[in-house]
């Protein structure tokens, strides 16, 4: 009895579902088993039950011996597609691991390629996926890591500081030191004035962006009426990459969120990207007692162990015309994908990416989540639309950025050596003449509710901003020419200034405390009144404006209850400063180290964000 018949016999699928699966298989080229297990028809547990009832046994395969010569004749793509792979030749037969022992296509391939009869060993599909990626994935993982570096070394963060940058930094340090030795007072005054003025200008720029962005807060990039015109059959295949690491607790939540997406099921190509050693999450997927709606891709071990590397690897298996990334805990607006397709249809060809807004579902959990919500609200609701309006490079958010697949590959995809690969990609796209748009759709994430976890995450972001700034400022003149003066200044003030303001902030605060609170005489002798006046003015006005920008954030989202928390922004910024110094330290000693953010710490449950 064939596997489809077996499943119908056991009542796990109906005859009409079988027809549907076979039709889909013929149309897409996907194997029957892939569709059955990854498109929500049956759970892996039931599949196992069916096969066991039919007398099959599942062999443990992870430690199985293999012959490299045998493996060299099969490509990972094919093995992955058929969920099967040959291991070695024994007794003049090819030992073959198969999740679907009736896969005639694969059996014919074995006979034809090796000119021997196959001996089938039935194994769990996820075990075969794991093994095939591990044994056959080297070429792909190398490509994921080094492709950008080979194709476009100037844009790869594999080198953190270039020689001219190091010379510039050391010359600057030398000049400051000489200045301090020759005239300590005047040099200190100059540094103070430059830093405090820079602090204020950077914040005024943020306010300006927020105001520009807020002007269009009611603008609907895609309206409800436009959404109604969308026909499901015309929708293209949409790839969703889900890079996860040790997120076993979130797998069920993830499936619920994905199932809620309003997009034709067969047009979705969802890839759960797991690291080779992440057995926890793999076991969680194995043990699911309800049907999954994603395919698992195992990313073989290779340094650096970063999210962009996983995404680049997943790209090799993606089938979609469009592609997006979500985190495990993300809850996108249910109509987000359709909106994106509609907007891509309206926008000129140079738009290769659409960024959705991000926000938090657990905003009222504690002080940190409230502050984080305020920050994300002004960032995604005002700042990014502001950048968009002014045609300044947009640093993409970590998730929910939707790409045109072909252009993403052309750009060299994500830089695995950059820890804010998203921000880097946004700038790179601009530098290549492409544009990024913003859409009126939100993905709700889990705000970090634990201070140390928050600092870890933020230090990575700030380090990534530093990396991105260093990468794109290797040749400032070239950057100026490619993205124009507006883009250049915007890039400088948005990407470059962000880490600097956080680094400068505690210093200014120190002056303020020393001068106003403790009234230290030393500081008065070092700095004349006008310098102290200026730096305190800059600090105070900077803080006030930043508080105001935070306050603005509550309006679009109607989070009125959060408005007073904006006053705590100076404290929140101190946390940023801690993270910035940590990021700076890591930039020097371990630039590619990916500070993992723990998810699933929130106690808040949020229903799927159904858009009516």
């Amino acid at each position: 009895m064939s596997i489809p018949e077996l499943l119908i016999n056991d009542g796990f699928i109906t005859a009409s579902e079988r027809e549907e699966i076979e039709a889909f298989s013929a149309e897409s080229g996907l194997s029957f088993l892939k569709i059955v297990l990854n498109f929500g028809y049956i759970s892996r547990k039931n599949y196992e039950r069916s096969l066991l009832n039919a007398g099959y046994t599942f062999a443990p395969v992870r430690e199985m011996e293999y012959d490299a010569e045998v493996l060299s004749k099969i490509d990972l793509q094919f093995a992955y597609e058929r969920v099967a792979m040959p291991m070695r030749i024994e007794n003049n037969k090819v030992l073959v691991l198969m999740a679907n022992p009736n896969d005639e296509l694969f059996l014919d391939f074995i006979k034809f390629t090796y000119d021997k009869e196959p001996e089938i060993i039935v194994a769990y599909d996820l075990e075969i996926v794991w093994l095939s990626n591990k044994l056959l994935g080297e070429k792909y993982v190398k490509s994921a890591v080094f492709e950008l570096m080979k194709r476009d070394p100037d844009n790869s963060a594999v080198v953190t500081f270039t020689s001219p940058q190091l010379i510039f930094i050391f010359v600057l340090i030398a000049l400051v030191t000489i200045g301090l030795v020759l005239s300590f007072k005047n040099t200190s005054i100059t540094i103070n004035v430059i830093l405090s003025s820079f602090f204020l200008v950077a914040i005024i720029f943020k306010l300006f962006l927020a105001l520009v962005g807020s002007r269009f807060e009611l603008h609907q990039a895609v309206t409800k009426d436009e959404l109604k015109l969308i026909v499901d059959e015309d929708m293209p295949i949409y790839t969703i990459l889900l890079p996860v690491y040790k997120e076993d607790k979130l797998i069920k939540k993830l499936i619920w969120n994905l199932q809620a997406l309003d997009y034709p099921k067969h047009k979705l190509d969802i890839k759960l990207l797991l690291e080779e050693e992440d057995d926890k999450t793999l076991n969680a997927v194995k043990n699911l007692d309800f049907p999954a709606i994603f395919e698992v891709v195992i990313v073989p071990f290779h340094m650096p162990k970063t999210k962009p590397k996983a995404c680049n690897y997943g790209l090799h298996f993606a089938r979609g015309k469009y592609l997006t990334i979500y985190d495990a805990e993300d809850i996108p607006d249910t109509d987000q994908l359709k909106k994106v397709v509609s907007l891509f249809g309206k926008l000129p060809n140079e738009y290769v990416c659409i960024q959705s807004a991000l926000n938090y579902f657990n905003r009222n959990e504690n002080f940190l989540t409230r502050m984080f919500t305020l920050e994300y609200s002004y960032w995604f609701d005002y700042m990014l639309p502001g950048l968009d309006t002014l045609d300044i490079p947009i640093p993409l958010g970590g998730t929910s950025n939707h790409f045109k697949m072909a252009e993403l590959i052309e750009l060299g995809a994500w830089d695995p050596f950059n820890v804010t690969e998203d921000a880097d990609l946004g700038v790179r796209a601009y530098a290549k003449g492409y544009k990024v748009a913003i859409i009126n759709s939100t993905t709700y994430e889990e705000a970090n509710n634990e201070p140390f976890n928050w600092i870890r995450q933020r230090s990575r972001w700030i380090k990534g901003y530093m990396q991105t700034y260093l990468v794109h400022m290797r040749n400032p003149v070239k950057l100026w020419r490619t993205i124009g003066w507006k883009g250049f200044l915007g890039f400088g003030f948005f990407i470059g200034a962000t880490p600097i303001t956080f680094l400068v902030y505690p210093l200014l605060l120190l002056f303020f405390i020393a001068y106003v609170i403790f009234d230290l005489s030393t500081i008065r002798t070092l700095f004349p009144d006008w310098v102290l006046f200026m730096s305190i003015f800059n600090l105070m006005v900077g803080n006030i404006l930043m508080i105001y920008v935070n306050m603005m954030a509550v309006f679009k989202r109607r989070y009125y209850e959060l408005i007073l928390f904006a006053v705590a922004n100076p404290i929140y910024w101190l946390m940023h400063s801690i993270a910035a110094y940590k990021g700076l330290y890591q930039l020097i000693v371990k630039p590619f180290y990916w500070e993992k953010t723990n998810h699933g710490l929130s106690k808040v449950n949020n229903p799927t964000n159904v858009v009516k």
Partner: protein
Amino acid sequence: MRISKSVYLLILTGILVIYYLVCAIYLHDLGYYNQESLFYIEKAKIVFEGLGNRLKVMGLTAPITPFYAIFVFTPFGYALAPILASAMGTAGLFYVMASSLLKNLKNDFYLWILLAMFLFHPGLIYSACSGKGIYMSLIFFFLFFINLFKFYKSNTTFHVSIASICLVTLIFCDYKFIWLTLFFLPLVLSITVHSLKLGEQESIFRLYQSINSPSLRRKLVNKTFSLYIILFALPLVAVLCYKLLNLTHASDLNYFNESPYATWNVLVDKLSFDAQTAGGNIKIPEISILLSARVLLFCPMIIVAVYLLRESTYQVLTILTPFALIEFLHIKYDKVYVGYQYYLLFIVLAFLCVIIKHHTVKNHFAFKIMLGIMVAVQIGMGGYYLKTSSIPEEKNFVNILFNRTDDDTQAENMDVANYIASLPGDQHILIDDATAYPIVAFTRDIRPLIMPYESSFLSALESPDKYADYIVIATAKNVLTGYTQLNNKYIIQIKKTIPQMDFRKVFETKYWVVYRVIAVR
């Protein structure tokens, strides 16, 4: 070739600038000055030509925005800078209003009406040619309200934030506008009640419903509070910071508002108080409620504005807040006459309402005729109010403008300044610019002057023989004699303290005496 509307508007504004400049320079040649412009001239001279630490003068002179505005024009001469600023600024106000008008109205009639007002309204000419900072208050008042009305329409954070920023600037144009925040309390509540999604249409019932439902009440409170914060947090915090700067640099929170060294109207207001208490001439029209009636007479267009907004309670409340403001100012500063600039606010506001609400008018022909008549009445009333103003400066302006006679109010100050200018360059003159700022404003070179902003002033005051060669003293007849240390009593006192020092009168006018300091050995 057809010119675009914006170019057309720029040409009109240019013509207006020339017109204002001709009037202003003509008045200037007739010798017209006022306390505010003289104060700005003097402070600007200190900033650009003074010696020593000028940070306090630069940072704490109030109102700060009109003061800074004249900096741009100082290359054309200190005396001309304030009038150039006010002429350009008033034309700028026209441009801002007219561009909003063109965006909203297709009919050129309204533009001509606006232009007529800017050409002929004596109040607007006063704003343009006096060198005062009125124009700036009017610009930001207009921008504040237009953004508020835009917010009502669009409900975007952008407009409410811009309104807030305009209010900050408005407060730094005239500190008294801080009180607007007080009268916006009920208004903000009314806006929030209006924005709640309720079936009930009547405002009072909407309020009743929202207060009686716990969830709506929470929403109402949160939203009202948030709106109030977003609108007024910036102005209030800006004022707080400014006060802190005053505290750290002048050891007085209210230095900018209460010190005659920081602002011109402290002494002017005190004089107004003296004139009122000494003369017993209480001005009947400046009585609460009657003041609002005076506004209605001055600007009947405001009635049209109320009519246009009649369908929305909170919008009517919006244009009633300036009434509340001037009534409040009259009560709070009861010994000070309400300045002409506060009446001008209503002209700007009324026109704004016409711009944004004219589409609700059914009979445009009748509306235009009515508007034309009202503008004519307003021009007439504008002249009448200036002519009968209780503030001498305003009255003086209109007299000089219409009679074209020389103004000799500053003649004495000019004489003293000329005398100082005739002294040898290495001589030092002790002078207190709290009261003598007009003299300093007319003085060609201020470097020989020892003034309170300089650290040597106090020492010079204690021992003038060591620091100064001359002292400028206010005579007993000078109404400001009580507000300066350098008066007749100072001479007597210092002679007692330092017997070996003597003073010789070298120049004298009715209000000022210049003494030469003589050390007797």
